[in-house]
Symmetry: C2
Subunit: 357 residues, 2 copies
Amino acid sequence: MTRVRDLSEEQILERIVPLLPRGSATLLGPGDDAAVLAAPDGRFVVSTDVLVEDRHFRTRWSTGYDVGRRAAAQNLADIAAMGARPTALVTSLVVPGDTDLEWVTGLARGLNDGCAPVGAGAVGGDLSGGPCLVVSITVHGDLEGRAPVLRSGARPGDVVAYAGLRGWSAAGLALLEAGLVRAQVSPAPLEVTDGVLLEDAWEQLVAAHLRPDPPITAGVVAAEAGATSMLDVSDGLLRDAGRVAAASGVRIDLDAGAFAADREALHSAARAVAAATGLGDPGWGPGTSDINGLIDRWVWAGGEDHGLLATFPAGTRLPGGWAAVGLVLSADDAGPAAVTIGGQAPDVGPGWDHFRA
Amino acid sequence: MTRVRDLSEEQILERIVPLLPRGSATLLGPGDDAAVLAAPDGRFVVSTDVLVEDRHFRTRWSTGYDVGRRAAAQNLADIAAMGARPTALVTSLVVPGDTDLEWVTGLARGLNDGCAPVGAGAVGGDLSGGPCLVVSITVHGDLEGRAPVLRSGARPGDVVAYAGLRGWSAAGLALLEAGLVRAQVSPAPLEVTDGVLLEDAWEQLVAAHLRPDPPITAGVVAAEAGATSMLDVSDGLLRDAGRVAAASGVRIDLDAGAFAADREALHSAARAVAAATGLGDPGWGPGTSDINGLIDRWVWAGGEDHGLLATFPAGTRLPGGWAAVGLVLSADDAGPAAVTIGGQAPDVGPGWDHFRA
């Protein structure tokens, strides 16, 4: 095993840079003091997100490749949520000296596999030692002449729509935290749970957590279809819907029926987690004393699916990948909360807070 | 004292965001999934740099404000080194939960004071808990229609020129590491050194380390004057000059006489450090067994002054802030090294390596 401390910074970069995607907007890539990118419409979109070891990922569950995929996904989703096409990202990486070089090259491959399908390049970075792994990415996008789609544009009467998975990442994390493992690695826990958790469900849910694959192209499609507001759902559907409600000065009512398929998909995982750990774990928050409550928690408050939530004018034919999940109401309408489910205040806790959770 | 763990992420952002500079290129600032920036010439320049606690700064020497100033400076210098005007930056911040909120708001004020004079905005960021402080900044710039100035454009016969301080940051760090303190805080160490270290020298050298103030505007000026190559000197003059030599396929000969004023400015600090710690500290590298050797080490191999090194065609009238410091030679000319001082191979060690140093 080669550890990063055995190599100089330049030697490490020599291993990483060839693995990175170039991207069609890259006019000058890595190797100088800065990269140069095309911004053909005279503007660009920029966002940054950081992943910290033992906060956002654990190396016993996530490979370097997984973290690269995840870092790419959550950053690209922020660009998509503006209605922009991702063009390029830069990465700051903090790595303990005893880290296996394979972890770092895996991260580069994960970034590549996350970025290449949407044409985004990895155009620069910085590398430092430090006490834990930190992956900080800044991503850029091109609005292609469109207005950015903000959180503040939802209007009463608009349809609320969603693209992507709901609750899968939270369920995958719960499977990992419960110690449930892939059948071929250790079949016992799955048998304990009455065989309800299919192996492919484990694979899909855990993959949704470790290597989220958000619907990046759905962002541009939504903007072209006239989306009035949009955001990346990273902190839980209720909490992020609340941000649209607050920014737009509206209420949002979600339709529980629109989530029936998600609930069904998560049911076997919830039964497995409940059998392995018992219900009512205080860490899961309120309302998780039965299996339906646990599923509710994943669907409504689970973070990091990085799906897109948008609003469209009434009567819009929703583009492919988008499904109607609710309605925008006037803030003047009577209602028990800024975001309701079928007119009722939700009884699941708030989403992820990076200092409190 | 308010610790960051006592507040939610949103509460912390409410305290920080009003402190940040807006910048004239900012079309949409913080608060949505991404910011929108103007790129009027259809391109933009981007670079990223990370500062890690106990690697790049120590909280016993640096306040949050200092780290903000330093992070701004080193990032802005990368943009300047391309011949671009800095427009905006985004910041990812990792903060242990027991950090004083004042440290974080100080960081924001430091970013502001570093960015505002050059018109750059702070347009977004991300915030996470973690085991140590990490400040990762990505900075953007506008080439205003010019070609970027690369490391690879130096040609034999060009004049080598420098803008900024040489060795002051390394001397300031050595003063701090030697435990030498400001006279009014503890006059004793200065008396031990025969009174050679003036109080204002301490202030200036330590400030050059903690809050570097690189000549950001000198980058655009150099590009307009026809600079053929340029880079930010962050890892030591010899090492960074070596990067220009390698990228351009040339040799660089530096003129020791051009650095006489720097050597003079650093002399009292070198005597103070030598008196306080003895000479020949193995951590200082080769050639530091006398005071002149220590000064050599600071001037030629000291990192983090973030001055700009550029080359100009022979006969160029150097713009304000720039001084000639050497000559570009053909790689075919006989010479003992890619970078020489008065034709001789330098005997100081290499510059900073983030894993090895």
